[in-house]
């Protein structure tokens, strides 16, 4: 990279940026999250997987500074921290890109990129610098924009996501939290976003990728933490877990099998879908014994 990214400190790849140790969050008597342990390293993608209501948003809120944790330990660069505001998390280099992206659709890309942190020049803004930087920063993320003057609303969903990511990176993020970036996107657009996540990892950022789709997580992830009903189901490096394991754990073996059973009943035993699903369940080795007998009949 030839251009200057002012605030990003060069961190050696593999350095642990965030450590989460048996962290938990209670709202009064409600336990939203408990006993979650994982880590985020520079140049790695930590995927947080879980279905709706698994505690993913609570986990994000702790890292992003929206809520402080009540149990366990959060360490940033080895120091114990507890964020009481998003500003504090930002100052520690942790930026969150939420689903709504915080962009203004009718405004040009370059205005959106610098919105809220416009560089000054005399009494006005340094427009030439802003346009140039937007173009080069997006190019560094692999987005080649035709024209930074076009309204951001004219970009595709994936591209908009990437502008938001590039913006967070430019303004000093070392850890990037992406809240379900692929949830609202089609297959092709999701692929585009995954490519940029890989790009951010290449640039040495620690990425926390929140998703409910193991097929999106597996190709780009280095570490996988699974959440279910507010509890961690484990924290695995990529070498210890396969995509099939991941999928099976996500859905829960027994639940997946009963779904296969259900499909078989409604669509007939010869149904490809049911057969495939059953084969998947068997392969992943999480089949519970009582149902394997029942499905034979």
């Amino acid at each position: 990279m030839t251009d200057t990214t002012p605030e990003t400190a060069a961190v050696e790849r593999g350095t642990t940026l965030i450590e989460v140790d048996a962290i938990g969050k209670r709202y009064g008597s409600i336990i939203a999250l408990s006993d979650v342990t994982t880590s985020v390293k520079a140049g790695e993608v930590t995927c947080v997987l879980g279905d709706n209501g698994a505690g993913k948003s609570t986990f994000i809120k702790i890292l992003a500074g929206a809520h402080a944790h009540t149990d366990g330990v959060l360490r940033v660069d080895g120091d114990e921290r507890s964020f009481s505001s998003p500003r504090e998390a930002l100052d520690a280099g942790i930026a969150t890109v939420y689903q709504d992206l915080a962009v203004v659709p009718l405004m040009p890309v370059w205005r959106n990129f610098f919105l809220g942190s416009e560089p000054r020049k005399g009494l006005g803004m340094d427009v030439a610098f802003m346009k140039h930087t937007t173009k080069t920063e997006l190019a560094a993320m692999g987005i080649d924009l035709r024209d930074v003057d076009q309204p951001i609303g004219t970009l595709s969903g994936g591209e908009r996501q990437c502008v938001a990511i590039a913006r967070a990176v430019y303004f000093g993020a070392r850890v990037l939290i992406l809240d379900e970036p692929t949830a609202a996107l089609g297959v092709k657009q999701s692929g585009v976003v995954l490519k940029y996540i890989a790009k951010a990892r290449e640039r040495g950022l620690g990425v926390v990728f929140i998703t409910h789709n193991p097929h999106h997580a597996y190709p780009v992830g280095d570490r996988f933490m699974l959440l279910r009903r507010g509890r961690s189901m484990g924290d695995f490096p990529k070498s210890e877990i396969s995509l099939d394991d991941l999928t099976a754990m996500m859905a829960g073996g027994a639940e997946l099998e009963s779904l296969a059973h259900e499909l078989e009943r409604t669509m007939g035993a010869s149904s490809d879908v049911a057969a495939e699903l059953k084969a998947d369940v068997r392969e992943s080795g999480v089949t519970s014994s009582q149902e394997s007998g029942a499905t034979r009949g």
Partner: protein
């Protein structure tokens, strides 16, 4: 700033320069202004003379100053229905304080400015704190001020018109600032035209080249997003309401010192004309998009039509019909532009 664009991208077809000009928010108003100018030049011999131009420029200038301020506010996503009555209110404050209480005219003008800014700030604060539409809040302020204008004026001076302003001390020192004129080519050109140009130039610069301009577009386009990235939404919106109030004060002073009199009902009903001028100039009613130059052009169209109809010796009631038709046309055009700007290519 032509230097801002880097080497041209090969995927940008050469037609895009024209397309970009055509999709500028003020483009519709510019085309319409030229059409209206040609039309009335053909309808009346006096229209394009120095005398004629002086008349319609003067008419356009006061509407233009207000329309430009209102356009900033509309880009910021709000309305101000008290903008019209504000011009009368500030003029009445100066008129009563000087003729009735003998206050120094410069001091009175300053008092009027402070009052106007305070009312603007209250408008903005109420809108932001209550979360109610600015349409309702400023409709309230509009009626409150309208009542005060009439009742207080009658209560203090016993009539509804300020008289004797020219006899107050220092009148000659302040009159030229707001009401002087020069003769060029047989026409009388008022200083208000200069104010109009200055206000438009400053507003355009602020919108396109400053932080504040970025924030105005952002709070009107997506307030929640703007807040998330750290734009001071409250400050920006209150500033916009105060800007509109400031313009109301400026126009109030211009009309007061040009005619040296003011009626208690001055400005009532003109708030909608400002909004029409801004919309014709490309402002979206939903905020986040528009242009100060466009609003100035909208006011120019209004001024030319207003005086052109008189020059052509038609029934002046046609002005209203024309305004309404132009508003509808502009809204349809803007809607189309916005749909194009918002949807994916």
């Amino acid at each position: 700033m032509a230097t801002a664009t880097a080497a041209p991208d090969e995927r940008l077809a050469s037609t895009s320069a024209i397309t970009r000009i055509l999709t500028r928010p003020e483009m519709g108003a510019a085309v319409a202004a030229v059409a209206v100018m040609i039309f009335f030049s053909l309808m009346s011999d006096r229209f394009m003379t120095g005398a004629g131009a002086g008349v319609w420029l003067e008419s356009a200038s006061t509407f233009g100053i207000m329309a430009v301020a209102v356009s900033l506010l509309m880009i910021g996503g709000e309305f101000d229905l008290s903008a019209g009555v504000m011009t009368g209110f500030t003029a009445l404050v100066v008129g009563i304080l000087t003729t009735n209480y003998g206050l120094n005219v410069w001091a009175a003008v300053l008092v009027a400015l402070v009052l106007a800014l305070a009312i603007g700030a209250i408008n903005g604060y109420l809108v932001m704190r209550t979360g109610l539409p600015s349409f309702i809040i400023t409709l309230g302020t509009f009626f409150i001020l309208q009542g005060i204008d009439l009742a207080v004026t009658k209560l203090i001076i016993g009539q509804v018109t300020i008289q004797g302003l020219t006899n107050i001390p220092f009148y000659d020192s302040i009159q030229p600032v707001f009401g002087s004129s020069v003769s060029i080519l047989g026409g009388t050109f008022y200083v208000s035209v200069l104010w109009w140009v200055v206000v438009t130039a400053i507003a355009t610069w602020v919108l396109l080249r400053t932080k504040a301009g970025n924030w105005i577009f952002a709070v009107g386009g997506a307030q929640q997003s703007a807040r998330q990235v750290g734009v001071p939404v409250l400050k920006t919106k209150i500033g916009l309401f105060m800007t509109t109030a400031f313009a109301g004060w400026l126009v109030g002073m211009i009309s007061l010192f040009r005619t040296s009199t003011v009626q208690a009902n001055t400005g009532v009903g003109q708030e909608f004309i400002y909004i029409i001028c801004a919309v014709v100039g490309g402002c979206l009613l939903t905020g986040g998009y528009g242009s100060a130059i466009g609003a100035a052009l909208g006011a120019l169209i209004y001024g030319m039509t207003f005086q052109g109809i008189t020059f052509a010796q038609w029934d002046t009631n046609w002005l209203r019909t024309f305004l309404g038709a132009m508003l509808l046309g502009a809204v349809l055009l803007n809607n189309w532009v916005r749909t194009r700007a918002e949807t994916s290519r």
